[in-house]
Symmetry: C2
Subunit: 515 residues, 2 copies
């Protein structure tokens, strides 16, 4: 009479639990960085074409204002026009030419090559991004100013998380008042904490060269850095609508020339700095990012760049961001389709929550947009873990919980294997025709339990009775214990000699290696 | 230098909040029951074809065992063969013939016609299902036996929830020991609590006729019930693998003859009662449901039936259900594609959580499978709200929270409107070329703020400062207050005269109308 089976069989359970406890060889893991998405398509082909046409029209008819002098020179040199109204307009033929020259497949290296990110096709990667100004205290719900130590700790946590593939600096070290010290120590703390690919930004163009010096020292020379640029530049080169951010453009020019990959980030907010209709917000973001493509490729054809159509969304009642909304999930998934249309590596934001705490709201908000981004085949899913209060707060516990969430999301991205093994009837016949009448102990079942099923670290699958016996463990407390465990270990990622050199030659601020 | 805009503008905020507070006319609402999904396709066309072929082969070569005598007569009469091994085998031509006869578009009526569910094409509806045996106390995490009053209360809550479109009885009233009283009062309490479509099951065939009498009394006669069968039968006619459930089949025969729509439910558990590979579990579920289609249409061609491929999934380490897993989300979304392939109304389970509490885990588990089910165009998304501990527990608070979650999911199902209004450049030009440089107060923004954006009831979008000032409201406590508010009102859905008649003529147990 019940609708659902809930038999819990015995039979080798201890053996199976033990089997799973042993770490899986890399190639056998059910999920990994760079799995291929793209089976979810919110836009039709003609929708995509219309958005593309509208973006070209916007660049040709409205254009962009406020380029720095250097940018005006670069862009007009490439074929743009500068109008009497100060706006730079982009002939559509120029845009198409530059799209043809643009880098189609970019690899973002990790400092450890096992963390390299291949941004070709619809390969999906999840990671952090910024820039929170607060740390969430998940015990009492208070928000305090974020510090350099928090950044280092976040990097050390991400280093341990299987399903978080890159570390774009998620918070601002507000205890550093000097701008150069801020940019340098952001890089130092990130690299010291994790060997995954790092994204960072610069306060102004004056900081780029000194930070490059630091990166060269870490890499073992300029050539080594250029060969494997393990730190890229997150660049808000536009202040939507259709306005260049002068200083960020200057930073971008320097980064492109230094061989540093750039994320061309257009972060409009639908209903505020971007049009309210979802499609229209995408049009504007695409137009702005195409302007960036022209800009970058006019400096250096084929320079590594990621188009970052990051349309955010407003709660139109208040104008506040609603980063955990369904509208946001659609914006980011549709962005991925536009990236695929251009054949360019792309990224957008997903996984953000408006909730102040890692609660049920945070769970559904982070899940909806992350799974849609993954299924759409977004190359770089930024903000995928840890972000609360519409990006104002980072929670270390939420990083750990979000890793679990992303494991399930990635299982969904991996999809369903349909092949002779999975649609052949041999096993079904053996079980049903004179067999045991169930599949639990079958060789096929045991054979795929590790390679096709993913098991959570944090999520609880116990029965109510088992859970009760275990003392009704609280999810967030479990995450807190995991964070303490990670931060209690020394996870510094620089060899002592190199670390000493960095301290000798740069203004490196003190960090606690075990908290 | 920050990655994200976080400007919070003033300007008419109070007016916009007030505007939104007024209820929207039905036709203007951004989302509604029965929106069209189907843009997410985990299976390719050839995958679908292979699964279909394998299911036909399974029915032809392995067949089904354990049909009741009446079923053997019906099925062999239609063209099946009964083997020496007691198994009924289905020639593929017979299956294809019966598919051609099967009802393609079914409407499940609500007792109030505004809640009618049109199950054609890829129209999506979300609702509850069962059958929990416990109620979750969200204050201390304890689980207690569920009662008839809990069922009535759940129905009264669902009646108030915009995004929950039907009420399949989500729990077992464990305080009723008599089986007939259980089935009758389950129907009474459900109908008394909500005017939405109701799904229920019967303990055995002996209960069907007495319960039909109750339904006729509620409807105003047998003809009235047959014209609008507002209660349908959830029927676990198989005990996978490939085994009929005798008594449930007898129930099904009676329901089909009474004009009651049936949900043909195959609830295998991948790795236990169904094969462990995802594709293989789908093959078995499809085979079992096709057997049901033959059975139903052999009784009465075109009888309203929903194919309920509900493959669940095991945690293969323990054999326990992992209803909140990514594997589960894939199983249900792929099921929807198979329903579309056959052109039959279909349903599957999504939105379940393994967590014992409405916490972050519950949020992500419920969200991932619900959004994938919705985007895949599943007609009936069962178990979509309120279910915890792998279906063992129902939480009233979680119903209210899940409604919010489903609002966002439905916004995603609605998708992106690409048309001349949304890709035309008039507004962008007006804003950028001599205009205010932002979209916040623009007519277009105000025009769509109610019709294209959805606003949460429970989810919190305040800034940390505002949230702090508000006393750091806890999400689950907020849901508890909402539940109290709903249950504190008299929401009985029977007029007094009818209610009296029902009490006079049937064994109706007492319920508290306000708690």
């Amino acid at each position: 009479m019940t609708d659902a089976p809930r038999k819990r069989r015995g039979g080798g359970r201890a053996a199976r639990v033990a089997l799973r406890a042993a770490p899986l060889a890399e190639e056998l893991r059910p999920v990994r960085a760079g799995m291929t998405g793209g089976v979810y398509k919110p836009l039709s082909d003609s929708d995509i074409q219309r958005i593309h046409e509208a973006a070209l029209n916007a660049l040709e008819q409205i254009g962009m204002v406020n380029a720095p002098d250097s940018g005006v020179e670069i862009l007009t040199g490439a074929g743009c026009t500068l109008g009497d109204d100060g706006r730079i307009r982009f002939p559509r033929a120029l845009v198409m030419d530059m799209l043809a020259k643009a880098a189609k497949s970019v690899t973002l290296p990790g400092r450890d090559p096992k963390h390299d990110l291949d941004l070709s096709d619809s390969r999906v990667h999840f990671g952090t991004a910024g820039a929170a100004i607060s740390i969430v205290d998940t015990q009492d719900g208070s928000y305090r100013d974020s510090t350099l130590q928090d950044l280092y700790d976040a990097a050390r946590i991400v280093e341990q998380l299987e399903h978080v593939h890159f570390f774009q600096r998620p918070l601002v070290a507000r205890d550093i008042t000097d701008n150069l010290a801020l940019d340098m120590n952001t890089i130092y703390a990130s690299c010291a904490g994790t060997t995954k690919h790092i994204g960072t930004s610069f306060v102004g163009p004056q900081n780029v060269q000194p930070c490059l010096e630091l990166l060269y020292e870490i890499a073992g020379g300029e050539a080594a850095y250029r060969a494997r640029p393990f730190v890229s530049n997150t660049n808000c080169f536009v202040v939507p609508p259709l306005t260049f951010a002068e200083e960020s453009c200057q930073v971008m020019e320097l980064c492109v020339r230094a061989g540093m990959p750039v994320l061309l980030l257009s972060a409009g907010q639908a209903g505020a700095t971007a049009p309210a209709p979802i499609a229209s917000a995408i049009v504007q973001a695409v137009a702005e990012c195409l302007a960036g493509v022209v800009y970058v490729n006019a400096i250096q054809p084929g320079a590594p760049a990621i188009i970052g159509t990051w349309p955010f969304v407003s709660d139109l009642r208040t104008g506040a961001m609603s980063s955990g909304s369904g509208e946001q999930a659609l914006l980011s998934a549709a962005s991925a389709q536009m990236h695929h249309f251009y054949g360019l590596p792309g990224g957008a934001a997903a996984g953000m929550s408006d909730s102040k705490m890692p609660d049920m709201q945070a769970g559904w908000e982070q899940a909806i947009s992350n799974v849609m981004a993954g299924l759409s085949g977004l190359n770089m899913v930024y903000e995928a873990v840890g972000m609360h209060a519409s990006l104002l707060g980072l929670s270390h516990e939420s990083l750990v919980l979000g890793n679990d969430l992303l494991g399930q999301v990635q299982r969904c991205v991996r999809g369903i294997d349909v092949n002779e093994d999975t649609v052949g009837l041999d096993v079904m016949k053996a079980v049903c025709l004179g067999g045991p009448g169930h599949y639990l102990g079958h060789e096929q079942t045991l054979g795929i339990m590790q390679t096709e099923y993913i098991y959570p670290d944090m999520a609880d699958r116990q029965s109510p009775g088992e859970w009760d016996l275990a003392g009704r463990p609280n999810l967030v407390e479990k995450a807190r214990a995991k964070v303490s465990e990670i931060l209690g270990r020394d996870g510094h990622q620089f060899p002592a000699e190199l670390d000493q050199k960095l301290h000798d030659n740069f203004n490196i601020l003190p960090l606690q290696r075990q908290v």
